[in-house]
């Protein structure tokens, strides 16, 4: 079951009972930003670049009065240029995302995260777009800003149903060449795909100047394989069927999935890509705080 930490509003069991993605998104954002998190974008989110001589017309608030006090010189602070951030939401809507041992599926969890992020991003006057994919792009909401955009994203998320085969790597590779505006690419998927393909996709995104964040959405049962009785596992996405004694298989399975995830994380780390494992039984907090950290770094003009 969900492990609520801190704000209970972030508990997926609570979120599951909420009607509508908008409410979920607002709840998540408020829950994330309240308490421990302040919006790094409040006030000046610009970063000091240099001093220059005051010229008529410069805003008085930019004067560096400390310098004047010291040197009687009127200088203004120049900041790095603030640019509008683009946040691309890539949500895996393949059949494997339909799995869930709890009352909500991985896809539900992923779209809550995506919806909340969209709400946060657009609320900060950044742009956000959405791509729902399986083996290829399925639904696209081009990046834009404003309430209308937000609602469009939510609508697309609400309407989506996970189906079809997985093809994360291929989609990333395809997508990398089509994103016009550089920005953060938040990818919500279970990444049950060939790693080389995924890594190649990430590499291309990086090459194009984007900042991917991998949000690997996993069900707790997928991680633990803690199944007590004999089961016939019917693979989603046509992966076959197998009768197993989970107890006999558990250790090896955990080793396999852990190795896969670890490898993915390693590759991500090697490329400077953030990798976040989202357990659908846990609160959604980490999904937003990671983005917020990226956003803050971006505002300073640097990269994480």
């Amino acid at each position: 079951m969900a492990q609520a930490r801190g704000d209970k509003r972030l508990d997926p069991a609570v979120l599951d009972r909420l009607e509508g993605l908008e409410l979920v998104a607002r709840t998540v954002v408020e829950g994330t930003l309240s308490g421990h998190h302040r919006s790094p974008l409040r006030g000046s989110s610009a970063e000091f670049a240099q001093h220059r001589e005051y010229v008529a017309g410069d805003e008085l608030r930019r004067l560096d009065w400390k310098v004047f006090a010291r040197s009687d010189r009127l200088v203004v602070k120049e900041m790095f240029e603030e640019t509008t951030l683009a946040c691309h939401l890539l949500v895996d809507a393949s059949e494997s995302m339909a799995f869930g041992s709890l009352e909500w599926s991985k896809f539900d969890y992923a779209r809550w995260c995506a919806a909340a992020l969209a709400h946060l991003v657009i609320g900060e006057r950044d742009t956000s777009g959405l791509v729902l994919f399986d083996a290829k792009e399925r639904v696209k909401v081009p990046p834009s800003s404003g309430e209308r955009q937000k609602h469009a994203i939510w609508k697309a998320l609400e309407a989506a149903q996970p189906s079809g085969p997985t093809g994360v790597g291929g989609v990333l590779q395809w997508f990398a060449g089509r994103l016009r505006k550089r920005g953060i690419v938040a990818i919500y998927s279970d990444f049950f795909d060939d790693l080389p393909s995924v890594v190649e996709g990430l590499r291309r995104l990086r090459h194009e100047g984007h900042e991917p964040i991998l949000f690997q959405v996993l069900d707790p049962l997928e991680l633990s394989f803690d199944i007590a009785r004999l089961v016939r596992l019917d693979g989603l996405e046509g992966a076959g069927m197998l009768k197993v004694d989970p107890k006999a298989l558990r250790q090896a399975y955990v080793e396999e999935i852990t190795a896969h995830n670890r490898e993915l994380a390693r590759h991500a780390a090697a490329m400077g890509v953030d990798y976040v494992q989202l357990d659908t039984s846990r609160t959604l907090e980490v999904a937003l705080t990671t983005y917020l950290a990226h956003r803050k770094a971006r505002a300073r003009g640097g990269r994480r």
């Binding site: 298989l249 558990r250 250790q251």
Partner: protein, 740 residues
Amino acid sequence: MFDGFVNPALLAGTLLALVPLAIHLLNRQRYKPMPWAAMRFVLAAYRKTRRRAQLENLILLLLRMAAVALLALAIARPFVGDQSPLAALAQSRRDIAIVIDASASTGYRADVKSSFERIVERAREIVLELDAARDDRVRVIVASARPRLVAWRRPDEALSVLGTLQAPTDESLDLAAALGEVVRLAEEDARGSTQSALEVRLLTDLQRSNFESGGEDDGAPALREQLEALRKLGCRVAVEDLGAREEVPPNLGVAAIEPLAEVLGPQAPCDVAVTVRNFGPVARNGVRVTLTIDEDGKLPYRPVDVPAQGEGKVVFPVVFPTAGAHVLSARIESDRLATDDVRAQVVLVPPAVRVLLVNGEPRPEIEQDEVGFLGAVLDPPRGDEVLAGGAARPFEPRTVEPHELRDPALDLAQVDVVVLANVDGLAQDSVERLERWVAEGGALVITLGDKVDATGFNQRLFKADGTGLAPAELGGRMAIARRDGYHRVREFVLDHPAFRFFADERWRPLLTEVPIYEFRGARVHDGARVLARLDDEAASPLLVEKSYDRGKVFLWTTSIDPEWTRLPESPRTLVPLVHEWLRYAGRTAVPPRNVPVGGTLALDVESFRQGVELVLPEGGRRPLDPGEQAAGATRRRVTAIGATERAGVYRIEAEGGTSEPFAAQLDPREGALARISAVELVGVHPSLELASASETRSSDPEESAPPKGELWRGIAIACFVALVCESLWAAWIGRSRSTP
């Protein structure tokens, strides 16, 4: 691998070893379907662990199947012989059957101990050699006329039973029956195989008569049959000689007591012969024989010379004071076998036969009276010894007229024989009364004459279904004028008691030459028997006998007075005929008073008698079942079955003073102590071998049945190990699979 199983039927339990397999297979059907996304990882893990999981499960399954199979095998108790490769694991135990000769001859006391005491002592030695911890088993069979299995399992049980055997029986040995019991035990032991490992020990005095072969009447063929059965089962009979040392031990015994008089009667002198048999090799002279009558009438002893292997007779003059049962007890000096030195014999001295003569034509003159001559024969004038048939008066006749049969004061229970002499017109109630009386054991004699009307006779006395009194249906009168000749008796049943006197050829003409001028033809009923026939063309019956319930009815088809025959005028014919005939008629069949040891005693008592008991020779008492009484009967038969275990005098007593003696008699042949030699013993059958006390097995190892070792303990341990391993293995698997 195994020579057989003690419980072969339980071997089917090994099929239960398939249960774990069945459970395993059924479990495979109980997989819950579940959609799964991370299939690639499952498949990878499966490929990695499949072989190991299969091996773990296979080992677990095999351990479970093995545990069940071993348990079933242990319960089936397989056994192996010496030659089996598993013999080293087997635990041999001994199974012994000890046959103890408890016949009367083993009471022979050659020295301090009798043969029987030595036999029991030897049996104890054998039992003490056994080891209960090794599960040794011993069966003790006490053999006499009927074998008794007195102990059948543990050595300690056998020892306690042996402690109760104090003396041999008074019975002979039926060795075939005893070995038959051993065959049964050996067959049980050999269940599941053709061989038995039963050791058979026969402890005996080697009395020859127990082993002798002979004609078909003796028990030898049955003995060989049992020995052959044992041979087929692989059993040999080790015969241990615990008898006397001599081949023909000396022994004298009282073999028989018999009254010599043909007719016994109270107050009538009677010679009683006592036969003494010498079974030894040396003649014995002057052997003192004493005879006691009814325990208190001891007669002076008489000496007798008895040759070796022969017998001698000594005669005692005896007078039985009263009618009834008298006990004669003959004794000689005690020797080494005391049980045959005394013998009892119960003699039934019949009372006078009470004859009721129903006179159909009474006349004052004896020659014309219907029963004149008959009455004179039955109750002769004093001094007329010829007519009396001797000093004793065996008859008590009484004459009545036919109408007196209706008189209630006439008690037919006090009458043994009723003679209807030329009686006509019996009332129906008289007929019914006679029917009841005959049914209870009375004897009715019907003689004919001119008064008898055939029609009325047939109506009242004859029934076609045999339920009437008359044994034949009367026909017409057949007469020959005296001047023209006469009929004679052409044939008669020579061995019938009524004609015993005339069976002697010297006296036969006395019957066959007597003229018979007139008679009635008769159609004999199927159930009747013609005892004598006349010489007419039809060979008409003269005397016909029929059983009527417990009584008898005789039809004499001529007259008993001189009217139709001259037989009454011939006392040399009439006297023996009437005496033998009426004595026979008046004799009621009674159960024997002298039975062999182990025989059944039976006595007819009045129905009203209560508290019937059997008094044993040593004085003990045993109540007897009152017995069944037939409807309408006034007497019932009391029996004592198998109660005569000892030779001696028994009594059946009832309230009111009834005390009737019986004698259980030892078989005189038990006194023949001649022993069979070792050579002769083997000649009886190859399965017999004379063994000394120190020998335990046959000297020929090839012929002896291999000892049977059981494996159940080892198999049970293996089962336990399998169970422990299964538990540990299952726990290890569970633990290894529970920690990711």
